[in-house]
């Protein structure tokens, strides 16, 4: 197999790993999963998916702007520049293998399992439901009410 074919092949495998990555729980201006899928789709020589489908809708952008005070100090023209610039990757067989190994380590939760911190940090003594509350909120299981939010502001938890 020639090297470029091998690179394309590996890129396809990377795409499979990327597809398995969890979706963002909260919408951001650019998503890691989507941008990397786009990048390796080009390396694999595949057609990029429908552009309109991935672009943030007006509602999404409004949502992001109301959540933050502004698009984080980024000027509009700079944002455009970032969006339009697509760096060309020069991937060799060796480097794409490394990329694949690294990505699969990340997606397999290798380090979370290896360096297990235990309940001590996941259920911190000072505020045992801290992380659970965040997760419930972003997964929409249990929304904060005005009163519970007020309590957090006043008492800190």
């Amino acid at each position: 197999m020639s090297s470029s074919a091998a690179v394309r092949d590996s890129a396809k495998q990377i795409l499979k790993i990327i597809e398995k990555l969890p979706d963002e729980r909260i919408k951001h201006l650019v998503s890691f999963k989507d941008s990397q899928a786009e990048r390796f789709r080009r390396v694999a020589g595949l057609q990029s998916t429908d552009k309109n489908e991935k672009k943030a809708s007006l509602e999404d952008i409004k949502d992001i702007i109301t959540r933050t005070s502004g698009p984080l100090g980024l000027q509009k023209d700079l944002l455009k520049k970032v969006q339009s610039a697509l760096p060309q990757d020069e991937l060799t067989e060796q480097s794409i293998q490394e990329q694949m190994r690294a990505l699969s380590n990340i997606s397999n939760n290798k380090f979370k399992n290896y360096y297990d911190v235990g309940e001590k940090l996941y259920k911190p003594a000072g505020n045992p439901i801290y992380y659970q509350r965040i997760m419930d909120e972003i997964q929409g299981k249990q929304k904060e009410t005005f009163l519970s939010a007020l309590r957090t502001v006043v008492f800190g938890k």
Binding site: H28, A102, N105, I106, I134
Partner: protein
């Protein structure tokens, strides 16, 4: 008056940071540590991991190349003599301080949050990636700016600093609520007073209005980053990697996954070290970040028990000493 105990615990130190050079020796002397890691690549430090990448990508840099220049008063913390290392409090002041603490029955754990979190821990976080134009980079800064190819700017320094502050926040949350929150508050307060001074002094911002805008922006970044890292920490490595990509790496499209993996490893290993520390140890300032060129290995059950035993002995002897100074008292647990 307030002595920050910097004594580092022997066992913890031995197990948490094994420099690469001495690893071979350790391998011979004790096979205990390596039993669970049959593959040698498991033991690579984040720096080695990042350096081994063969991807020759050049990240597109959108910064406007505003260099950080050393200001007029370049000190790590402040000009105050109380924060300098060599300063010794006169004996009479020390005795007077102890008397005040004893008579007013001050809560030393609360008092200590200032010098420990606001001064010592902030200095740790600040120092990790501190850089000035034309000056040699420190070893840790080299990892971030050279190995990970991050831009040498003020806002990048801020991102690296808040990542390290967040690591400390995670541990502070596990302290009793009122103390942990106090420690967090002191750390954040110090960060923003320092940034304000640096923007005037080093970044040559001349008007307070613009500095205020920057501070608000930095505040938004801090909140966003803490939230994203919290989510990643609690859920999985992929989410943590995405949070690091968005915040630390500025969402660069041609990210080197090996670098991302190195950072995930770096973050998780620091948290592991923090999780093995008792409240008391952490609260008196015994923690140091593990440099990126060192490898953190897991403790075995025996080592962990040994470590706990040593910590308990150390603080029991301090607490049971009848001549203990009022300023050395603490109610924080050393058993967890």
């Amino acid at each position: 008056m307030i002595q920050i105990v910097l004594a580092r615990n022997g066992v913890l130190n031995q197990a948490r940071s094994i420099p690469l050079r001495s690893r071979a020796l350790l391998h011979q002397s004790s096979r205990l540590l390596n039993e669970k890691n049959p593959k040698p690549e498991e033991l690579k430090s984040p720096e080695d991991l990042a350096r081994q990448s063969h991807l020759n990508s050049k990240p597109i840099d959108f910064t406007n190349y505003a260099p950080v220049r050393p200001g007029k008063k370049k000190t790590l913390l402040s000009d105050s003599k109380y924060e300098s290392k060599d300063y010794q409090l006169p004996k009479w002041k020390e005795a007077f301080g102890e008397l005040v603490i004893r008579t007013l029955n001050l809560d030393m754990d609360k008092v200590r949050s200032g010098p420990v979190a606001g001064s010592y821990y902030y200095a740790l976080c600040k120092n990790v990636a501190l850089q000035y134009e034309g000056e040699k980079l420190s070893e840790t800064a080299k990892f971030f700016y050279q190995d990970l190819k991050l831009p040498r700017t003020f806002s990048q320094w801020f991102q690296i600093t808040i990542l390290h502050e967040w690591l400390l926040f995670v541990r502070m949350r596990a302290m009793p609520f009122k103390y942990g929150r106090n420690y967090q508050q002191k750390l954040v307060d110090r960060t923003f007073t320092d940034i304000e001074a640096r923007l005037f002094d080093e970044m040559n911002v001349t008007t307070g209005r613009i500095v205020d805008q920057y501070l608000k922006d930095f505040n938004t970044q801090l909140r966003g980053a803490v939230f994203a890292y919290d989510e990643g920490f609690y859920t999985d490595d992929a989410t943590l990697a995405a949070a690091l990509w968005r915040n630390l790496f500025g969402g660069r499209k041609n990210i080197d996954m090996v670098h991302l993996e190195a950072m995930v490893r770096y973050v998780r290993s620091q948290l592991y070290v923090l999780s093995r520390m008792s409240d008391r140890d952490f609260a008196v300032g015994s923690f140091k970040f593990v440099p990126p060129d060192e490898t953190v290995e897991r403790l075995t059950a025996e080592q962990e028990a040994q470590l706990k035993q040593k910590t308990i002995e150390k603080y029991e002897s301090i607490d049971n000493d009848p001549k203990i100074l009022p300023s050395d008292r603490s109610r924080l647990s050393y058993k967890n």
